[in-house]
Subunit: 154 residues, 2 copies
DNA sequence: GGTGAAATCTACCTAGG
DNA sequence: CCTAGGTAGATTTCACC
């Protein structure tokens, strides 16, 4: 596995903010030739450092006016409960990310809904009736004051 | 503002998973000509539906082995406390996203650190000593079971 | 929906440490 | 021998028809 140097880190930082930068523009920003910048980018893709390029969407323009984080506690720690919950999560498009965390609650989920009624439906008609789910604690996002900054460069 | 139809939504879904799809590939997936697919994509960019294209990085390969979510409660509700906290957040690269939420805690933050020691330093040497910060509750990410799915299509 | 000019990527080649 | 810079063919985009 090749070593990552400071130039690679700066390249990653730039591409996290704007993946459309051309090899030429990257080269100018990093004092490299376009071909070298392109070669570095390709190597970062091949080694799995860059996992993918993704379009970011404005959820409000899509009609998704409500975002929330939910902490979910399962009824049991048994593996089949976790598996049943996992199926629920996969089948629900409103849930975009799920993390397992240390601490009292078992899962943290990020959800997007069209409105408050849809969020309440998700909680009371989908999550709480599910046998694997014991408790749901939901907090609605009022504002995002810092969004998707590049990863820190260690 | 032009209306978004079902084809636009499918296009957005594809581009969220892979922003490198060419107009030709998009056209094949959507039963459109390449020129029409490209035109739709351009329109979604111009109207701000697509806010940017971003490279996604594998944090572990960068040496960021610890992720966490933190809930931060401020010492006061005064605007200058929030503003001081905002400056702290902006100056700290480990904090990649910050949300304001409903409920008891004032902020939810997502952080990436090289290791547990760095995370503890962040909590005890940066956040807690800051005059605006009253309480910090941190939960480490053990696993991400669903990651960055496309936004739901309403 | 199609076409062509301009721009970009990428594989290959050459030079230098 | 390995890394950096340059070049040409193929691919893609985008303004226009």
């Amino acid at each position: 596995m090749p070593q990552i140097d400071q130039t690679d880190r700066r390249l990653l930082k730039l591409l996290q903010r704007n993946a459309q930068l051309t090899s030429q523009e990257l080269g100018e920003a990093l004092n490299l030739s376009a071909s070298q910048a392109g070669r570095r980018r390709q190597r970062l893709e091949e080694t799995g450092m860059i996992t993918r390029y993704a379009a970011q969407i404005d959820p409000r323009k899509l009609g998704l006016d409500v975002q929330a984080f939910m902490q979910v506690e399962l009824a049991s720690q048994a593996p089949q409960a976790a598996q049943a919950f996992q199926q629920l999560v996969e089948s629900c498009a409103d849930i975009t990310s799920v993390w397992t965390l240390t601490g009292e609650s078992d899962f943290l989920m990020r959800v997007y809904c069209a409105n408050l009624a849809a969020l309440n439906d998700l909680i009371h008609r989908v999550l709480l009736p599910h046998p694997a789910v014991a408790r749901v604690h939901s907090q609605i996002v009022l504002d995002q004051t810092k969004r998707d900054a590049p990863l820190p460069l260690p």
